[in-house]
Amino acid sequence: MTAVSTPVLAAVAQALVLVALLAAVHAPLGAYMARVYSSPRHLRAERLWYRVVRVDPDAEQRWTTYLMSLLGFSLVSVLVLYGMLRLQQHLPWNLGFTGFDPAGAWNTAVSFTTNTNWQWYSGEAAAGHLVQMAGLAVQNFVSASVGMAAAIALVRGFARSGTDARIGNFWSDLTRGVTRILLPLSLVAAVLLMAGGVIQNLDPHTALTTVEGATQQSLGGPVASQEAIKELGTNGGGFFNANSGHPLENPTPFTNLVEIFLLLLVPFTLPRTFGILVGDKRQGWAVLGVTAGLFTASLALTTWAEMAGPGAAPQAAGAAMEGKETRFGLAGSALFAVATTATSTGAVNASHDSLTAPGGGLVLFNMLLGEVAPGGVGAGLYGMLVLAVVAVFIAGLMVGRTPEYLGKKIGRREMTLVALYVLTTPALVLVGTAAAVVARPGLAGLQESGPHGLSEVLYAYASAANNNGSAFGGLTSGTPFYEVTQGIAMLAGRFVPIALVLALAGCLARQAVVPATSGTLPTHRPLFAGLLATVAIIVVGLTFIPVLSLGPVVESLS
């Protein structure tokens, strides 16, 4: 009898393979992305691109102009996608599906434009190939690139000094994020996924006769190309309803690892890019250390919860296999669940509603943390940098000095923006949840009553406001009440923080650099990393402990 069982050893080894792969690409990809966003040279194809689109990629924009470009682009993204969804029956490759109703189209258009990918519909029963490819997958690319652009703009705010609040050019950042980072990586990833068995064709869904003579629909679709960017851009919108639990989206443990690697790749690498761009790689290490620490703790606890399998149903069955696929098992499902909620992906390879009570609480906590460990592409980095400002501010209060971060003074204006940022998503989550549990159409959507019902609603608004998009599947969200209110939560949860981040970037870019003195708090040491992790947990803890107590905590104790 060995002390540690084979499944536990395999679970640890599987996580270590993932860590090794991420570590191997960390430095080269981080440096490459830093060059992408700082090089003054355009590729020849990009110059042609800018001429066709008629934008000037070299005009340095003030933060207000940068924000206008970003909002203008996102506005047309919502409108065009809304139009495509409404008019689906008139588009080619619609597989006979009709247009979405107004509330549903609004929800989906906002959902994909905000990098959330909340889905109230089932892909295989509602969305044709053209809507998937040219509508949803396009937003998978560009919404990810928008998030990266906002993060890079904030980093430039720290790195630059004495400008009149100029933080780069949105059109250039948006384009390069797609053409130099997301598209090349997606090409490679799609080929790997196809080799593993993910389908890629333009066939409709047609019937075949099974061995026992029944009829089953054989599914078609350009799935691998969409699956690649779905994970890489931390989007998460499944081609099929079962998302990455569907065997045609995620057929083997190998493709499962590829998908988890893809969704962690950019979020875990951007801290390196940040370190390079601010001229001090140690600052990147500190941010990476905090995110990696929080992620590891969450993964260890969730894996333990799923493998231990507490709760009446897992105990009756012998293991927490309800809602999980055989090929992934407990560990492969826990790893995916943590990776998808710690980033803002929201893809799922198992039913989160059927996770054990502590497991479900932990993945909910990942989202409530504001998705900073490591968070969505771009969104995770700017979220963590905002928390770093809070941390230096608190440290400044303790020693009675004006706080500084990366040579920039954190004054009243900066702190106001940061405080508003920190308050935005919790306000959306708590107000949304409160409204849903007092309104009759909100309560009508619940599958379960009592604490698990509250968890379902809290999870839904946490997922929407944090732009995650995963669901405790039990909630029936395809009703006008949830479609409209979640749409508002997704929209505000995306663009209010981005506007505050760009305003902060503008403030910082205007400042002169304060030289470091012996009294300056070093922000690359373990002491600061510990403070930053503590701040992240305390901020979310103080905000959400009451509602978490009534939901997952009560459930875990019962």
Partner: protein, 208 residues
């Protein structure tokens, strides 16, 4: 003053929105058409069987033609005959409905789920003639997709005696077929060991 600022802000936003529209149209051509169509071409040339859905004929051989296929090795289908290995329970539509992939989404304390698990456990134990305590978890729980094509080696093991009896085969022959269609963890550490139900059943049909 204020109204002119608002007007000029609106004009600026309109200008940016129009630039955004042109940008989005070009992105749609590149990312929404060129990229997926190019990948489809690559898939059909380099991985035609996988890209078409890993379809098999009734003798277990690979095909890309749906009209001669009896299923996909990646997608569960119902097997109710006693001579067949049975897949996991399915919450996809009325069971194994590929147009309604889904999990049950029932919570870990849900009394209906607990009751369903107990019921399935008794049914499986009776069918296979084993003690309810020996029925593995995957046999009594519905999967994440409702289309899980595989079962655990433990669930396959308790079905061997029944399948051998129904087919009039030596138990060792059926055990060997299970063994041949069991995959270990990918690269030794990824995922879990598993048995593909359709491949196994077709192999038994084809050989006997």
């Amino acid at each position: 003053m204020a109204s002119t600022t608002v007007a000029s802000d609106l004009a600026t936003l309109t200008r940016h929105t129009l630039a955004g529209l042109r940008m989005l149209l070009v992105f749609t051509l590149l990312l929404g058409l060129a990229y997926p169509l190019a990948m489809t071409a690559v898939g059909q040339v380099a991985f035609p069987w996988q890209a078409s859905g890993s379809l098999v004929r009734s003798d277990g051989s690979h095909t890309t033609d749906r009209s001669e296929a009896v299923g996909s090795t990646l997608v569960a289908q119902a097997f109710e005959g006693a001579q067949y290995f049975h897949p996991r329970p399915s919450a996809a539509g009325d069971g194994y409905d590929t147009l309604a992939s889904a999990a049950s989404n029932l919570g870990p304390l849900n009394p209906d789920l607990v009751a369903a698990i107990e019921e399935r456990k008794d049914a499986v134990a009776e069918l296979e003639g084993v003690d309810p305590a020996d029925v593995p978890a995957d046999a009594v729980t519905s999967s994440g997709s409702g289309l899980d094509p595989q079962i655990s080696p433990e669930y396959a093991a308790i079905q061997v005696a029944r399948v051998a009896r129904e087919r009039g085969l030596p138990v060792a022959d059926v055990e060997a077929a299970v063994e041949a269609h069991t995959a270990g963890r990918d690269l030794g550490v990824l995922g879990e060991p598993r048995v593909d139900v359709l491949e196994l059943n077709l192999a038994l049909d084809d050989a006997h």
